[in-house]
């Protein structure tokens, strides 16, 4: 078996060389194309040679391409440094990478609010349902269905356990976005005859804000609550906003951009007092901060699996049973999941999600200790630089999410200079556009501050060496970028930037 795949690999490499030599024989062939093809052929050949018997290895092509690129880049650097000692305009590049130092090239992952790596223990659970146990969990007539149904119910138990809920109150969805839409649209539509008002905040995730906006088109009133400079909701303002026809209050537990924890228990008791349903988007909070749906009077709660080291493409919604919360389903169909979310469940995803939830509970103390330690180190290291500040409340926060502003540096250009660290300047949904974060705007930050902020996410698999590397890299490159900036020069000279009248606007 091993030998046959070895032979096959060799055959592939020899056909590749044949193709290239045929190409090279053509007259008027572009020399640079020929050279690059030849070099890629040599890397392919090398990969086969360096193979130490494990020919089942599946190197990605990206890896070969990256290696090649690195080789070319380092070769050109060394040529330049030997021929002339004068700086050759590649300093910016040198600042953006650490190359040819005997280390790898793949960036450090520090964007845990966007998504987390799948835990190997989760994958181990899932693989069974991708190999042998492929039954439809809703098939009641045979053992294939029974075995997957058993796994689904076990997973439901684990998911419910983390927030002290009953497993019957958990509904599996495709993710927190679907859960949030289901709540905002479903609850509002169910009670639309008597109640026409929804309350939410300005720092919610896009999916809640957009769903609420969609309900405005259906004739609902929506109040978007302001937050203070720390990112916290004013409880007095919330209570005043509740009207007799309010059906839902939706406040997120942990903010995805600034990591601020809202006072869930207080909001829950206000909602209970006024008999309004309380929904919280706990995508970033589930399993990471203590949540008890009964103690906090939470009626609906959205969960996402891929934020807790589980598989992507699945999430859940907690819907309280006593007193019962009614909502209109988004999807019509076979009536699975108490009729609230039709569609066949994906047992691999559900089982993986359940295992991820179980691990979140058993590893809670260890993860908390680890993340708090690294978070403290990172915050202290970053704030040691001049003109930096932490966004959001310093006290009411989840330590794994750190949002820092670097004044007089443009956030996106800093991210460009940090090619060896995977970071984001805000939520992944808005990272494609260059508009400043609406969350930081809601905190009262100006455009310049909102543009120069970066979010760092620390998780279970982050190591101390990575944090050390990040602190060093950020400090160096912030200094470098500020030296390029005329604004920084003016600040150093003591000019107040607000006093300048900019022309050309």
């Amino acid at each position: 078996m091993l030998r046959s795949s070895f032979v096959r690999a060799h055959r592939i490499s020899s056909t590749a060389t044949a193709a290239i030599s045929r190409y090279a024989l053509r007259p008027n062939g572009n020399t640079s194309i020929r050279r690059s093809l030849a070099s890629s052929a040599s890397t392919v050949a090398k990969a086969v040679e360096s193979d130490d018997g494990l020919s089942i290895e599946t190197h990605t092509d990206v890896q070969a391409a990256n290696k090649e690129q690195t080789n070319i880049r380092t070769a050109s650097n060394s040529i330049k440094s030997t021929t002339d000692g004068i700086s050759s305009g590649t300093t910016a590049l040198n600042h953006a990478y650490r190359e040819n130092t005997g280390y790898g090239t793949r960036p450090i992952y520090l964007d845990m609010q966007a998504t987390t790596p799948t835990d190997p223990r989760v994958l181990d659970t899932m693989l069974k349902y991708y190999t042998g146990l492929y039954g439809n969990p809703h098939s009641n007539t045979h053992s294939y269905g029974w075995e997957t149904n058993k796994a689904v119910e076990a997973a439901r138990e684990y998911v419910a356990d983390v927030i002290n809920a009953n497993s019957k109150e958990i509904i599996f969805t495709s993710g927190a976005t679907e859960s949030n839409n289901m709540v905002v649209k479903g609850v509002a539509r169910f009670y639309s005859k008597t109640k026409k008002h929804i309350i939410t905040t300005k720092t919610e995730h896009k999916c809640v804000i957009e769903a609420a906006r969609a309900m405005m088109n259906e004739g609902f009133d929506v109040t978007f609550l302001n937050v203070d400079a720390n990112g916290l909701v004013d409880l007095k303002e919330l209570e005043d906003a509740i009207r007799p026809d309010t059906c839902l209050v939706s406040v997120m537990a942990v903010n995805n951009e600034i990591g601020v924890i809202q006072p869930l228990k207080e909001i829950g008791s206000i909602c209970k007092k006024h008999k309004v349903y309380f929904h919280t988007d706990a995508a970033q909070a589930y399993g990471k901060i203590p949540i008890d749906v009964n103690e906090m009077n939470i009626d609906l709660l959205s969960i996402s699996s891929h934020k807790i080291y589980g598989p992507k493409g699945i999430g859940a919604l907690y819907v309280r049973r006593r007193p019962r919360v009614r909502l209109e389903p988004l999807l019509s169909g076979g009536g699975q999941e108490r009729g609230l979310r039709s569609g066949t469940l994906a047992p691999p995803n559900v089982a993986g999600f359940g295992e991820a939830a179980r691990i979140m509970k058993t590893e809670y103390e260890n993860d908390k200790k680890h993340i708090e330690r690294l978070s403290k180190k990172l915050v202290d290291g970053l704030l040691a630089n001049d003109h930096t500040n932490l966004n959001g409340s310093a006290l009411h926060r989840y330590p794994g999410c750190i949002n820092v502003s670097f004044a007089y540096v443009e956030g996106e250009s800093l991210l460009m200079a940090l090619r060896d660290i995977a970071l984001s300047s805000g939520s992944a949904c808005t990272s494609a556009s260059l508009e400043p974060s609406y969350v930081l705007h809601a905190l009262g930050k100006d455009d310049a501050m909102a543009h120069s902020s970066i979010r760092f996410g620390i998780g279970r698999f982050t190591t101390e060496a990575e944090v050390d590397y990040v602190i060093k890299a950020i400090s160096e490159r912030v200094k470098f970028l500020r030296e390029l900036s005329p604004l920084w020069e003016m600040v150093q000279e003591g000019i107040d930037l607000d006093s300048i009248e900019w022309s050309g606007h």
Binding site: G102, T105, R106, P120, F461, T463
Partner: protein
Amino acid sequence: MAAAPTRLQSSKQFNNYNFREYFLRRSRESFKQNMTLQKPEEVSRAFLDAKEELGILKRQGVISQMYTFDKLVVEPLDNKHH
């Protein structure tokens, strides 16, 4: 706990830097934690848990070697360090 040294060895099999470091750290920590266990039922449960985890680590370590990716910028390229 006889499973501990093997758990360390299996953790080292991970090609992925973050998973390797995590399981090395956790194996050491849980070994130290379980050293103080006295009650026989606690000891036997810890042993069963460790055994189960060893199975996971062995399987996932092999999978991690089959699907390899570039090394991270904090990872030395020569494997002698590990």
